[in-house]
């Protein structure tokens, strides 16, 4: 049923909108900007910052535009003298308890509070500074997330993010009155609580209160150390987002320019995580088929079906904390980032004649959880820490700016050899459903000798932004060695955002849903919406990045992971077969049950 239409006027301009629209959204339709801080399109309405107040004719008080629905005949003023003064006052109040030391803040020039302070000319501190000096000590216990509550404006976007998107609720509003702050369980340091390091709170925080741990200086030092051979890998989702920080429109594919920029920054070799994404598909696809065989033919009660993907480290930590009894369902494959590190410091080092101890592996990731993952003690298959430093997309953009590189005018170049080749299947890892699609392209062909029966290899049921997606693929015409799969309907599911993942896992645990294979990505939209991607974020922006990713896939000559010649070379010369002993040593891992609330 169509919603009733409401007529109103904003700044004397008439407009008709659907019932239930907020004043904020109605104003947007007229291109009238109302400032906001606690409001975020991904989150529920909080209405606590009051910076969006507007005058509604006849109302006694100013109304919060983000939290007030329109009504018939409303007359709204977004720019009256009263409105402007109250907004200014709200910003002054926020700044009065704010550690507004912008020059030493990592959100400097990218901060929503700073922008408002500039816009409203808050030049004098008219209010008493009531910042509590005790709050000046930041929590840097986590290798991924820094929490500095002296920069917090209590908007609670982080709290809503962690609860509504991620079903983790590591953060909550603690205490009351002057002592109220954003904190964790018993105010324990972040690395001791249930946090997955996903960085969605960072991406949704309007200020510098939650930021990534920054490793730019360490990477510069490595580059400038003549005794080190420094290689860099770039994750699939970085290439469609980094342009946003450097002058391009949302979702622009800038792969070739990014590679040139990395070379100019001084990395000794510029390689691609997409290469190990392809490798992941061979390992994970083989693991899936082996599990299916053990379940269907050997009737082995130990084997765990469904198998969940394991490339998203936030999801892994989520499972370790919340569903430790289900860890056997996780694929044992490391994430592409960690496979890359392990292969780089062994195979690549050998081929190049470099001692692994003289190598530094840097990753550029759309992700903050990868910073944590790289430091997990078990991620040392090469005998050294396999991945030394993890930068987010944002940090790499900073380095490119620091180097004075005019990104927009750069020529394009190709990745370096040995671990730089990738297929379209590797690229689509960056979008929700991509790993599933890539795995199906390969597994189906292994089993039947034919391509997946989808036009242009596009497995559309697993594409798009529905929170949970499902598909069933009937396997027909199997090769003799896979005849046990003849006629089997392979049931798969895909979820992104941990809150959706939680729904799936719970239903599976309770025996309500049955699948063979499930892809989970921690972040909304998959890695393209990762916690390390450029600010700001919304579904429109994620959509544009997804388009970038799928067009990259479409345009690559290789579309299937098992067609990647460098991956095949790696197997021939070094690993043997997928899931071989050597492959297990380097490319697979194990998981650790963690407590739900107390570490």
């Amino acid at each position: 049923m169509a919603k009733a239409l409401i007529n109103l006027k904003i700044n004397d301009i008439p407009i008709t909108v659907e019932e239930g629209t907020t004043i904020l959204d109605a104003a947007k339709k007229l291109n009238i900007k109302i400032p906001t801080l606690c409001d975020h399109p991904d989150l529920s309405v909080a209405g606590n910052c009051r910076v969006c107040v507007v005058e509604v004719k006849g109302a006694r008080y100013l109304q919060a535009a983000c939290a007030t629905p329109v009504a018939e005949g409303m007359e709204i003023y977004t720019n009256s003298q009263t409105v402007r003064q109250s907004r200014k006052h709200v910003i002054e109040l926020l700044l009065s308890e704010h550690n507004a030391d912008c020059t030493s803040c990592s959100r400097n020039s990218k901060c929503e509070l700073q922008d408002l302070a500039a816009e409203y000319h808050i030049f004098d501190r008219v209010l008493l500074d009531i910042l509590d000096p005790e709050n000046l000590i930041a929590d840097i216990s986590s290798p991924a997330i820094k929490k500095d509550i002296s920069k917090c404006i209590h908007c609670q976007r982080c709290v809503r993010t962690c609860e509504e998107l991620q079903y983790v609720s590591a953060l909550a509003v603690i205490g009351k009155g002057a002592e109220q702050h954003i904190g964790t369980f018993f105010d324990y340091p972040l690395n001791e609580v249930v946090c997955t390091n996903c960085g969605q709170c960072v991406l949704h925080c309007p200020t510098g209160a939650l930021t990534e741990r920054n490793y730019v200086e360490e990477v510069w030092d490595a580059i400038n150390d003549p005794t080190k051979h420094v290689v860099v890998q770039t994750a699939p989702a970085v290439r469609v987002a980094i342009g946003e920080e450097l002058g391009f429109a949302y979702g622009t594919r800038v792969t070739g320019k990014m590679v040139t920029a990395l070379k100019r920054l001084g990395f000794d070799s510029v390689l691609d995580t997409d290469f190990t994404a392809d490798l992941t598909i061979l390992e994970e696809g083989t693991e899936l088929l082996t599990r299916l065989k053990r379940a269907l033919v050997d009737k082995d009660p130990e084997v765990k079906i469904p198998m969940f993907t394991s490339c998203s480290p936030g999801w892994i930590k989520f499972m370790e904390h919340l569903y430790p009894e289900m860890l056997g369902h996780l694929s044992t494959c490391k994430s592409p980032q960690q496979m890359f590190g392990a292969v780089a410091k062994t195979y690549y080092a050998q081929k190049k004649g470099i001692n692994s101890k003289d190598m530094i592996v840097v990753s550029v990731m759309p992700c903050t959880a990868k910073k944590y993952e790289a430091q997990r003690p078990e991620m040392r298959s090469s005998g050294y820490q396999d991945v030394d430093y993890v930068l987010t997309t944002r940090e790499l953009a900073t380095m490119i700016k620091q180097a004075g590189i005019d990104f927009m005018s750069l020529p394009e170049s190709d990745y370096d050899p040995l671990m730089g080749e990738s297929s379209g299947a590797g690229v689509i890892f960056g979008a929700t459903g991509g790993v599933m699609e890539a795995a199906l392209r390969t597994a189906y062909e292994i089993v039947t000798g034919r391509e997946v029966p989808f036009k242009n290899l596009e497995i559309t049921p697993v594409r798009g932004f529905d929170g949970i997606k499902e598909a069933t693929i009937k396997i027909e015409g199997t090769k003799p060695e896979w005849s046990f799969l003849e006629g089997v309907e392979l049931k798969v599911a895909v979820a992104h955002e941990l809150a959706n993942a939680n729904k799936l896992v719970r239903a599976i645990k309770e025996g309500k849903l049955h699948y063979h294979f499930i892809e989970i990505m921690t972040c909304p939209g998959g890695c393209l919406g990762g916690g390390g991607q450029p600010y700001p974020v919304s579904w429109e922006i994620r959509q544009m990045r997804a388009q970038g990713i799928y067009s990259e896939d479409e345009n690559l000559p290789l579309r299937k992971s098992h067609d990647n010649p460098e991956v095949m070379q790696l197997y021939e010369e070094y690993l043997g077969q997928p899931n071989s002993h050597k492959a297990h040593e380097l490319l697979h891992t194990h998981y650790f049950p963690r407590k739900k609330y107390l570490n």
Binding site: E163, A172, I174, G175, F185, K596, L598
Partner: protein, 157 residues
């Protein structure tokens, strides 16, 4: 730990597993053992399927739900304006002396914790203090000391 598990299980049976049950459960734990430990909150969170940070946030919102160790008897002296005017400072000084602790502290033998609190609605009979659930009003320093002595005696027996 075993006892604590049982207490919480009993309370969950009694009050149920809905979000509404949270406050009564927390209150009953505090009634039993004076304060909430991390493991209490973790257990309650687990039983009610809530986040532990969330439950901790709820507890810290209420002055009476302590999350730091408290003595067997918790004394709260009202610090709000009427009691302030009628001499709460003298009461606090006297109590600090007799207990040999400062406001916020707990005695070494873990028998008493001395705290201040906001208005308890007895303004007309200030100064007022609360020991556990009992209100004592129209206090003088001598009266306050006398009352505390009685609690000391009681705990000896």
């Amino acid at each position: 730990m075993q006892e604590q598990n049982e207490l919480i299980k009993i309370l969950v049976e009694k009050h149920g597993r809905t979000r509404n049950a949270l406050m009564p459960i927390l209150q009953d734990i505090v009634a039993e053992k004076q304060f909430l430990e991390p493991s209490d909150i973790a257990l309650v969170a687990e039983e009610l399927d809530l986040s532990a940070a969330d439950v901790y946030g709820t507890a810290t919102f209420y002055t009476f739900l302590d999350t730091v160790p408290r003595g067997k008897n918790v004394i709260r002296v009202c610090k709000t304006i009427s009691c302030y005017m009628s001499g709460k400072d003298e009461i606090i000084n006297a109590l600090e002396k007799v207990l040999n602790i400062k406001v916020g502290d707990t005695t070494v033998d873990k028998q008493f914790t001395l705290l201040t609190a906001n208005c308890m609605g007895w303004c007309h009979k200030g100064p007022v203090m609360l020991i556990n659930d009992d209100v004592y009003h129209s206090l003088t320093p001598e009266a306050a000391i006398e009352i505390v002595q009685q609690y000391k005696e009681k705990s000896k027996n």
